[in-house]
């Protein structure tokens, strides 16, 4: 058993989670870059952005490929959760400190955070997932389900019309665009800030790429989880070697690329909306 020092690394994300994040990140960026020309078709940059993908039809093809991939990844994830919970009998997926399901503690943490912002209390002691991380998770899951459904209706309108009235195409296009605005704005501004750009993490947190976090950082970020695991004596079991320099550098490269592209797309949206 290696002695736990602040620089010892602890496992946080398993390979499946990291792969899922890379798939969601890549497809999300690709979907945004190929969908924005259509959403902002009147913008000066719309045709040029589409031409990076071989024009509108190329962009449409890439959009469908990324969309299908993201949908498949989310279906795979949901199937994986169901399998872990009901076949493997894994406990704590739907309730408890490691669950993505909102807990009473999340509301307490949120109010604690407000107090801390106001300087009226200490920074809350967070568990395995914070309330903003859960919000991100459910937003992506819900957003993918809704936009995926709308996207499939628009992709196969004649097939959809066997079940749905044609005015659903109007709703589907509107919802797809509105939900896209919401998702793009949320991920490329709020998620980027919360996960990466805030002063604690700036310029980025590579834990989602490397999978491990330094014990000292975890103790600061997720004090409640740290104390719980320490009390249960299971903290040492998470100890692992720090990520190699090349792993960190790869994580930083991928992260920088994603952050840059996302912020660039936000700049294009602001240009179209404000100018």
């Amino acid at each position: 058993m290696m002695p736990l020092t602040p620089s010892t690394h602890l496992r946080r994300f398993d390979a499946r989670t990291r792969v899922l994040h890379v798939i969601v990140m890549t497809t999300f960026l690709g979907l945004a870059a190929t969908g924005l020309p259509l959403l902002f078709s009147e913008a000066a940059w719309a045709q040029r952005l589409a031409s990076l993908f071989g024009g509108f039809h190329g962009a449409g093809l890439v959009h469908r490929v990324f969309g299908a991939t993201l949908l498949a990844a989310v279906v795979w994830h949901v199937a994986d959760v169901v399998w872990r919970a009901f076949v493997r009998g894994e406990r704590g997926l739907f309730w408890g400190p490691n669950s993505m399901v909102p807990q009473p503690r999340d509301f307490a943490d949120f109010f604690g955070m407000m107090k801390w912002f106001a300087g009226a209390g200490p920074r809350p002691r967070f568990e395995h997932f914070t309330y903003w991380e859960k919000f991100d998770y459910w937003a992506v899951l819900w957003g993918t389900a809704l936009m995926g459904a709308a996207g499939l209706i628009l992709w196969f309108p004649v097939a959809a019309s066997r079940l749905l009235p044609g005015w659903m195409f109007n709703i589907a296009l509107f919802v797809h665009g509105a939900e896209a605005s919401l998702a793009i704005g949320f991920i490329f501004v709020v998620h980027f800030f919360n996960g990466h750009l805030r002063p604690d993490k700036f310029p980025m947190d590579v834990v989602i790429f490397t999978g491990t976090v330094a014990a000292g950082e975890m103790r600061h970020e997720r004090a409640a989880e740290y104390d719980r695991l320490e009390a249960a004596g299971t903290l040492d079991a998470l100890a692992t070697a720090p990520p190699s320099a090349s792993d960190v550098s790869r994580g930083r490269t991928v992260g920088t690329l994603g952050l840059t592209l996302g912020v660039g797309l936000i700049a294009l949206i602001l240009y179209a909306v404000l100018l």
Partner: protein, 331 residues
């Protein structure tokens, strides 16, 4: 034979005038005046050797927009001529020597291409649409290119299209005297006419329809069809693909491509297998219009609350967080 004789006589008189002019100054001979020309061509029976008329109606010419001009201003090759009668075949009148800009536009048109490059002799040049000695401004009711007369002028060659146009709602409006009712040149232009299958021309059409049907085109730009068209693709439906081009009729007319009973066929041109449910699609949606679609209206309302709410909430959350972190981080 008599007229040939008359022409020769008149030409002899003309030559003496020219010769007199030549004596008074050593410079180029004085060009023949309009009166000189009309001495022969003013005769309604004037014919050339092959029997074709060469008569010019002086009154109509003087009443035309070119009335104040001399014959040789246009028939420039006759200005320096001293031998009369002149040759049967004259140089082509170069309208572009004055109307240069329009001439170069015409030069790029499909009509000029057909005439000059493809050798299609029936393709029109200036005079075929504007007339010759009786050219009138388009603002004059008698002009061949006055709005009300354009369908007839173009229809002189494009007879089949004119028959389609004649039954359309646009032709009906024109006949009622609605001066802004579209005629051929509104969509096709007058001088830069292109093939109807060129991308650039097709993409410009939506704006042309929108010059009258502004709200309808604005609603179109909110649709997938409209957005893809805006991005420069002609592979999706724009106005004419559903409404037709020359034979446009209102949806209330059972013959219209967008009449309720014809929608499955019209949508089915692209969407193979379109059915009655499919055509409940609204190709001109308006999220502000509750009557037109209540669910779209509600969806619009919903996102108008959710999007600003979400960005406002988390935006503030981020700003406060940033501010608090900066205060606590030792610099």
């Amino acid at each position: 034979m008599l007229s040939r004789f008359v022409l020769t006589l008149a030409a002899a008189g003309l030559m003496s005038t020219a010769a007199a002019a030549g004596q008074s100054s050593q410079a180029a001979p004085k060009p023949p005046s309009t009166e000189d020309c009309l001495a022969c061509h003013g005769d309604a029976d004037a014919k050339r050797a092959d029997g074709r008329t060469v008569a010019v109606d002086a009154t109509r010419f003087e009443g035309s927009t070119h009335g104040p001009m001399a014959c040789v201003d246009c028939h420039a090759d006759l200005a320096k001529l001293t031998e009369f009668p002149h040759a049967d075949t004259l140089a082509k009148v170069a309208c572009a020597s004055c109307h240069g800009e329009i001439g170069s536009k015409y030069h790029d048109s499909i009509h000029a291409w057909a005439k000059e490059k493809a050798g299609l002799n029936v393709a029109p040049a200036c005079a075929d649409c504007h007339g010759r000695h009786d050219i009138a401004k388009k603002t004059e009711a008698t002009s061949r290119v006055a709005r009300a007369n354009i369908p007839a002028t173009c229809g002189g060659c494009h007879d089949g299209i004119k028959h389609q146009y004649d039954v359309s709602i646009h032709a009906a409006a024109l006949k009622k005297g609605q001066s802004n009712a579209p005629v051929c040149s509104d969509c096709h232009t007058a001088h830069t006419i292109q093939r109807a299958d060129t991308t650039a021309w097709r993409l410009g059409l939506t704006a042309e329809c929108g010059s009258c049907h502004a709200g309808v085109v604005e609603s179109f730009t909110r649709t997938f069809h409209g957005k893809v068209t805006q991005l420069g693709s002609t592979r999706v439906a724009a106005c004419a693909d559903c409404h037709g081009a020359h034979d446009i009729l209102p949806a209330s007319n059972p013959l219209s491509t967008v009449a309720r009973a014809n929608l499955v066929t019209t949508c089915g041109k692209c969407h193979t297998g379109a059915n009655e449910r499919f055509v409940q699609y609204d190709p001109h949606p308006n999220p502000q219009n509750y009557q037109r679609g209540a669910i779209l209206w509600w969806a619009n309302r919903f996102y108008w609350v959710v999007i600003p709410g979400c960005f406002g909430f988390f935006g503030l959350h981020s700003v406060l967080w940033f501010w608090r972190s900066r205060k606590e981080t030792p610099r």
